[in-house]
Amino acid sequence: MARTITYQQAINEALDQEMTRDPSVIVMGEDVVGGQGAEGEMDAWGGVLGITKGLYEKHPNQIMDTPITESAFIGAAVGAATQGLRPVAELMFCDFLGVCFDQMYNQAAKFRYMFGGKAETPLVVRTMIGAGFRAAAQHSQSLYSVFTHVPGLKCVVPSSPYDVKGLLIASIRDNDPIIFFEHKMLYTMEGDVPEEPYVIPLGEAAITREGGDVTIVTLGRMVHLAGAAAVALAKEGIECEIVDLRTTSPLDEDTILESVENTGRVVVVDEANPRCSIATDISALIAQEAFGALKAPIRMVTAPHSPVPFSDALEDLYIPSAEQIAAAARDVAGYGE
């Protein structure tokens, strides 16, 4: 039965249900419990933003704190995954992936191929992305394109409470290494989420709004800004279809291309920096596979080629806005008219 809970509660529920279902599912990370070795209470934090709060009480043997030692504990999660556990490692901010990049892209990603198909590395690394929290340049990036580039890794970017639960359960049950990018500005978002466990298959995009004039391909928090833009444009008589990628690897090329075949006009919206990004990747896909259907140049709405600034006056400029998305959609809708 569905009821309204937050994105954050949906993650906690998915972890709780999977830890109950399968004792080989273990959760580890910095302060995912909190209070370890201190004189106060345990489960003091439940993760830096409280996402895993309460799991320690229910599953004390399946959740463990780590020192601040990303290379070692992400590497340990990779090693444990090869030995029959299904670790869900919390890497607080995706910006920290730089500290444990080798463990993800040279180790976890390559074992199966490099070892001739013999290794299984069923690992999920949960990590936060996104600007808007005034968290500045080293706690605000959206680095999914970096890992989408790497064969052997899967990348999941959920946009809603319903999706985050179904995609996280799918990721935990999947046998390949996965990076699960949670947008920090969505944690408090509410939505209808079934109580029972369910799976959203990886590699299936969602059409979150149907429309015949312009296709907006996007992901993560930008799905909601694109939605706001689409509402405004509908009043002007421009109907947008929104494709929420849900996963960047695997990529649901068919759903993107089918929508573009219908509309012939495309805006790609990505909160990340523009160079070598999901936005450029999707644009190249469309240019190569659906050139004949295009009635207007592809437009990209992205962050600029800059670090994420701290001051709200600048950070608000950095993040793509509903107005920018609407303007781009208006442009492509009117192109050649």
């Binding site: 780590t66 030995q83 670790p87 463990q103 001739g116």
Partner: protein
């Protein structure tokens, strides 16, 4: 630690197999028939043998780019290894890994590794799996003096102690990280001195002496198996060949390897000891030498004759499902 005659014969067979394998790869590489990079383990055989003889199939090791010896000592198939080095479909990794990535998880060999220092975090994970699952398995990380300076290794020593994992960290200090001397690149006299900083036992052992390695590794592994936590063992040893094949080794004194082969050869030291004490007959060792010679000859013949991977293999096993 008491070793039976069978144990001694097994130890010698492993060391001789590694030596023959590496000497032969050295020769074959020079003909141009082996592609890519190879990093040879000859000279360090007592280390792999002395450690791995304590391990069961379900115990896990992580190796280095100089990994052939660890593979053989942990029970990887020699024909499969040779074929892998030749890039053949019959290789242990179907020709997709090569010398630096030989692995066989079925025998607890979690891979040679092309990244210096990458093994220790993985071994923390293997140790964690043993602890969570309640087995009495242990996990052993091999790394070199080069790897000893990587943050991954130091972080893993800390994590293994904090989590009280059944892990053993084996530093094979062969004196050189690539072309740089460990007496320059390692900030203290011994890598094992660092163990104290992590609150775990650390010992320095002559890595040319099989019996010394076997005893020290045995103590550390038994401690880990019994729930006594991690240890660091440093084996001071020597490599006979360069960092990789083709390394002119101008950074080494001209007669260094010649002297090592004459005076510090672990196989010769082993043979002298077991025959002098009367534990084994020279003829028994000679028989192993002959058998191993044939084994390696056959492995090279098979590897050369084997087919390369077919084109369709390019895209298999990137993922389990995609």
């Amino acid at each position: 630690m008491q070793l039976s005659k069978d144990d001694l014969l097994e130890a010698y067979r492993i060391m001789r197999t590694i030596r023959e394998f590496e000497e032969r790869v050295h020769t074959e590489f020079a003909t141009g028939s082996i592609p890519g990079f190879v990093h040879l383990y000859a000279g360090e055989e007592a280390c792999a043998a002395g450690v791995c003889l304590h391990l069961e199939n379900d115990d896990t090791i992580a190796s280095t780019h100089r990994g052939h010896g660890h593979c053989i000592a942990k029970g990887c198939d020699v024909d499969g290894m040779m074929a892998e080095i030749y890039g053949k479909a019959t290789g242990l990794c179907a020709g997709k890994g090569g010398s630096m990535h030989i692995a066989d998880l079925d025998v607890g060999m979690l891979g040679a590794n092309g990244i210096v220092g990458a093994g220790s975090p993985l071994i923390c994970g293997a140790g964690l799996a043993a602890k969570v699952k309640g087995t009495n398995n242990v996990a052993v990380a091999f790394f070199g003096d080069g790897g000893s300076n990587q943050g991954t290794t130091l972080e893993s020593l800390n994590l293994a102690k904090v989590w009280d994992l059944p892990c053993v960290f084996i530093c094979e200090n062969n004196g050189y990280a690539e072309a740089t001397a460990s007496k320059w690149s390692v900030s203290c006299d011994n890598v094992a001195d660092r163990a104290a900083g992590f609150g775990m036992p650390g010992v320095v052992v002559d890595g040319h002496d099989f019996f010394a390695v076997h005893e020290a590794a045995g103590e550390a592994i038994e401690r880990a198996r019994a729930g006594g936590g991690p240890s660091l063992v440093e084996l001071k040893v020597s490599r006979y060949f360069g960092h990789f094949e083709g390394d002119a080794q101008t950074y080494r004194p001209a007669d260094e390897v010649k002297n090592l082969r004459a005076n510090r050869d672990c196989l010769a030291l082993f043979r002298a000891r077991v025959t002098e004490t009367g534990q084994l007959e020279a003829a028994q060792l000679d028989a192993i030498d002959a058998e191993v010679g044939t084994l390696i000859d056959v492995s090279v013949e098979k590897a050369i004759a084997a087919a390369k991977p077919v084109a369709a293999e390019l895209m298999t096993d990137v993922y389990i499902s995609y």
